[in-house]
Amino acid sequence: MTSVATRDRVRGPAASEPAVRRRRRPGRFLLPVYSWLIIAYLVFPIAVMILYSFNRTGPGLQQVSFSWNGFTTQFYRQWDNVPQLSSSFWLSIRLAITSAVLASIVGTLLALAMVRYRPPRFRGKAFIEQVIFLNIAAPEIVLGASLLGLFVTLNLARGFLTLVLAHVAFCIAYVTVTVRARMAGFDTSLEEAAQDLGASSLVTFRTITLPLILPGVLAGALMSFALSIDDFVTSNFVGGASVPFPVWVYGATRIGIPPQVFVFGTAIFAVGICCALVSIVMSRRQA
């Protein structure tokens, strides 16, 4: 709001013109109202999902029906009743944690190299930059298909291992970009001071570098977790008999999805929103 105040003050003569002022008045509410409508549009399907997770099923079939049949918490009490759905969900969780841990370690190391060193000492930096960018920009279906080709050529059985390999491959770039962005204002003189005081490289890293870059690393890890748990395209190509949650849901759309899918969706949403709110509150407290 401060920017409005300053602008009016600076504008002076123009603002005092009654014609301009009268024209501005009605439009003032247009933008906020519009923005809230867009937010409502973004939230609406999520509200529908949560609502339908409480919907009774029609007679006979245990699947979400398009029409509203009445309120029930049955599917929250029986959330574990669809064995394949539950196992695909836990597979996704294990996969996301593994990928996030691996990608954040590997990606952070690369980010450290990218922030600290320049071409004379770090040849190929520009090339790595291009590769990272290509990795993010390439359509996911192309990456998934190429990985499938690789695993078939290597005769590597498709399963949890290939899923982890593939997920880390698309998470590394995001971790590197995130950590790098957080390190933009990194003060290297702190590390030099530690080394001058006789700290070994390892001690310097553990006591100075890591605590400073930890927020960035955590952000990268969370991003990897979110990317991995939500991934459909790549998983569909390289999963084979291992079916993560999104792939299972996609397959189930053909025959009608059980209401528990929406229960899991609501749970993931609740956990994610809580994490985001906590991080907003924490960042506000720091500021």
């Binding site: 519009y34 867009i38 320049r118 590197t176 970009v177 759309t253």
Partner: protein, 305 residues
Amino acid sequence: MEQPVRADHRGVLRPRRPGRIRLGKALAPYLLSLPAGVWLLALFLVPLITMLSLSLQSCNQATGACVMTWHWSEFGQQLSLYHGQLVKSFEYAGAATVVDLVISFPIAYWIAFYGGSKKNFFLLMLLVPFFVSFVIRTVVWEFILSDQGVILGPLKHAHLLPQNFHVLATGFAVVAGLAYNYLPFTALPLYVAIERIDKRVLDAAYDLYASRTSAFSRVILPLAVPGLFAAFLLTFVPALGDYVNQQILGGTSDTMIGTVIQNAFLTNLDYAGGSALSAVLLAVALIGIFAYARLLGSQTIEEYL
């Protein structure tokens, strides 16, 4: 780290094995980037190049052995077979991107200029769809747009719409799904670009008696161009290869190229054909990126990711 404090400090304080340290220092950038480099090389670059080369190879049907022939016939064949799906993909992804750009510019502008202390909250609101799995989001749209769903159901009940009116299995439903799913990818880069505009430049425009429209068209819009371009790339490229929206919301007649590629690899095992079509998709993405780098500098686009 770049310019270590030399002999006067380090030499006096820690005179130990300078040779080993120097070797370690020289190797440090390479050692740090080794794990990620190997991973990206083995699981991104090599498979990508291998796959792309597949489309230029001729395979013996009987033995399965392939040789590089540099024949572009596969491309011609695939394009003549699936040009309809390719055109459809461009239409749908293009329409969804335009819708997203138009929808999200005002809200990005509003958050950047008037968000105040609630900026983070509004950004979280923009990101809210990402907290629900992509496939579930699309399934929910199937529910919303279904013939007896929350929108069409009541309208039909009130006889405001004919009973046989339907949205699902039309191009409109696919574009709506794509637009919804990729809206945050459009809104965030736009927000970053508009946020970065120096408000004093705008004040200067008003001081020079710019009207609101000309301040917008001659100051804000040109300064938001990098963001617009980034938003376009981040929305259009994934939407082009998307097939989940089309499969769940669309009909059988409007198949997109992603479905064709997926079927080529997973169902028909036509790797050469699938590779050729993937190469086309990748080429579109690359052309966009190089155009961006040429026009606006290659560094800036990373800031929007």
